[in-house]
Amino acid sequence: MSVRARLRSTWRSLFCKEELARELDDELRHFLDSLIEKKMQEGLPREAAERAARLELGGEEQVKEKVREARLGTGLDTIAQDIRYAARTLRSNPGFVLIAILSLALGIGANTAIFSIYNGILLTGSPIADSDRFVDIYTREDESDFMAHGPSSYADYLDVREQLTDVFSDAIIYNTTMPILERSEGNEYLFGEVVSANYFEVIGVRPVLGRIFDPATDGTPGAAPTAVISHQLWQSHFEEDPDIIGRTITLTGTDFTVIGVAPSDFSGLFPMEAQVWYPITLRPLINPRSTELTYRSDRTCFVKAHLQSGITVEQARSALAVLSTRLAGTWPETNGDSELVLVPSSDVSLHPELDGLISGITLFLMAMVGLVLLIACTNLASLLLARALSRRREIGIRLAMGAGRFRLIRQLLTESILLAVAGGVAGVFLAHGLLTLLLAVRPPIPLQITLDIGLDGRVLLFALALSLLTGVIFGLLPAVQTTRPELMRALRDHYGLTIRRLRRVSVRSTLVVAQVAVSALLMVCAGLFLRSLSQASRADTGFDLRQGAVATFILHESGMTGEESHAFFGQLIEQISGLPEVESAAVTDRMPLGYGISLTRIYPQGSTPEAAAEGASTDFSRVSTGYFRTMGIPLTAGRSFTPLDQNEGEQVVIINETFARTWWPTGDALGQFVRVGETGAEPRRIVGITGNGKYRTLGEQPRPYVYFPERSDEPFIAFLVVRARGEGQALIGPVREAIRSVDRHVPLLDLTTVARHLELMIFMPRLLAGLLSGLGLFSLILGVTGLYGVISYDVSRRVREVGIRMSLGARRAQVVRLIIGDGLKLVAVGTAVGLALAWVTSGALASLLIGIGPVDPVTYVLVAMLLAGITLVATWRPARVAAAVDPVEALHRE
């Protein structure tokens, strides 16, 4: 009953406001009339009775206000009323509202955009059913970098699956594949996954059409090859033909029967979009040289296992450790130095180490955009404080009429939250635009990455929460300040703020200092990336190829033998070298500053085992004869490779200067022998030495590097490099033609200019430089307007003081200096704080910088100078206003 009554009257308070107001009017009228009648009965004449009654009632409006408050206490009723009142107040200040909404939209929009990237990459749910009960199993070969969670081998997977049945109900294995889809329209690469036959069943993905793999038949010896295709491939290549089931597709010369179509929201377990799945046991059909199924040392696969019910992650971990030790005992040469480790799948988005890197970058960006939003907030707080002065009469009157201070603070907060929500709505649209722009800047890699970055419910919730928080942050301080009871004096004394004025200026000054500090920090970060970009364009890459093209082929699943691919490239280089646009052409299995790294142990013949161990992980690549000429890599000693080296001749290598200096400090490397890999390997003679270069990143220290001649033992991922006589762009068409004319069945993964290829290296610095410069500029504008506001206000309050100074003989130039000096003081403090913050925090950026350290003096000095210059601009007008004060008029003013 009580609850029902309460609900009913709350309902009435909210939706029957007019009826309630009418009833209250009636109730009070009856009261008043009764009172008047009583007074008249007591002998007062009608007019006197009415006056006395009204006096006793004590202000009808005030009573009504109290009744309304009583009805809901701090309830919804007054909130709705506050919102209407706030909207009305704001409507009368369109300029202020515009500035507020605009700066909030930028701040909230930037935050929302960055958050949706974080959300899209790291917070998206797993496509796996029951994903909380899965663990990822990795092989730890080395505590450092990515090998702490390296891929695993098929043989180890089988052992895990067969021997750990009491902790894992099942386990799957998957790896990448890039088969060639052969069609009459032309051949092309597909990206796909080779999987254990229980893959779909274990992760709980149902097909939209047909069936999934059956471990009893699919992929077993003697069974016909079968494949599942993605929904996207079904749409783009087969017009969503429902009869696709049972049809045959040709992948690298092998016919596969399509047995199912995966659902549209499933694109595999790698971040790249998978288009096809086939059983891993069929891999040899596509790539006969693959050692994936046979060698325990071939660790390229990823494993996920499902926990038995009732088994904890810890129990599984110790069971895995026991198995790992046992395997190390049984297979010391392959498993002796490695260990199987597990990570709960729910803790991993892409890869344990990659996740850390990505969340590091996005958290850094979120901190930066958060700071910008904070500046916007302080700016608005400052504006609101200034506005509070013009509203003190209104506030004073409301306080006098009996409005509670809490109620007024709530009222003022409603205004700021209303602004913030409006800014938030605009910000969401802005974020949408920003994301579209950001995602248009695709990293220069030729694969389609699965990126589900959009404004989903979580992002919108984030934006809303951020808006509300923002509203409270920038509204609370001004609201508390404005409603201080001392303001009551405002009613009596319009100019009575002499003491409080100083306090308020100092609050606003503090805000300006904070803004300048944050701007300085942001600008230092932006500056570091801008400097990195300019360093990058000047970095000595060790090769001189401005105009050229790079064609990428992935041939290990092309069905070609090593002989055939060698012949193909020989023919291709000959054909392309004959083109009029082309200076020379060559082939390599690794482009410097590209996305692959190849490492092997290389050390001088006759090294001690300890010294040989130091030679672990030397970068290398295999190159064709014309490579050094085509790339423009200078040979400082010896000779280049010859066709003889590529075939039956003596085993030779070419090394770079750093490799030479590392092993032969006295400089007699040429003609010496090195061994590669196992200590028993055939030694190879050093026939040439090249200059140093940049191989992995533009910012790296000189590293040892070794070149081997390209030989015909097996096909590989290959890059065809072409040196242009003229523009690199002009090569694209002719080179594509030439490739097709040599072998129209070999699909081209990617063909682009060398310049575009090198963009990969500066992708992150460029993206961050762009983002941070934008943020820095925005924060600078906010800071400058804040500074301008404070100084202008200060000048307007100091007219009298300036007048006195001038009548005492101060010259106008001195007044200008005084005002500008005040501004500079504020900015100097802010800059010092900001630079100190940058000094402390920018170390985190070191790995993303090129050619400069995080404490780059040039950047710091430039930022300080820029801020000083801008202070002059922002304070110039207020200073001139002050200097134009007429002393006589000023002294008579108050």
Binding site: H30, F31, K38, A70
Partner: protein, 110 residues
């Protein structure tokens, strides 16, 4: 005369309202008059406290308002005590007696 009138103690008004309307439903003016009459004018009920209190009590579900015709033949809102209101009145009476007893003991002890 006005000097003699004390404002009601904080929190007692709702108890007095509940008590006043236990016998029959009354309107605001009636309640005010009744309280002043019973206390012989010692307590003055101000409309600025009376009406908010009435609406708060209605909100709590302790009293119910309904429109009817008053003795001077005007439309007036009559408040009736509910069962919850009677329970509440009992609770408040007990609290009040305890408070009075306690204060009295303190005063006598001094």
């Amino acid at each position: 005369m006005g000097d003699q009138k004390a404002d009601l103690l904080r929190g007692t008004l709702s108890m007095l309202i509940l008590k006043t309307i236990t016998l029959k439903p009354m309107h605001g003016f009636g309640i005010m008059q009744r309280i002043e009459q019973i206390t012989e004018g010692a307590f003055q009920v101000r409309p600025g406290s009376l009406f908010p209190s009435l609406h708060r009590l209605e909100q709590e579900g302790w009293i119910e308002g309904e429109w009817g015709e008053s003795e001077n033949r005007r439309r007036a809102k009559f408040y009736r005590i509910t069962d919850e209101g009677r329970d509440q009145l009992t609770v408040e009476k007990e609290n009040w007696s305890r408070a009075v007893g306690a204060v009295t003991r303190v005063l006598e002890a001094l």
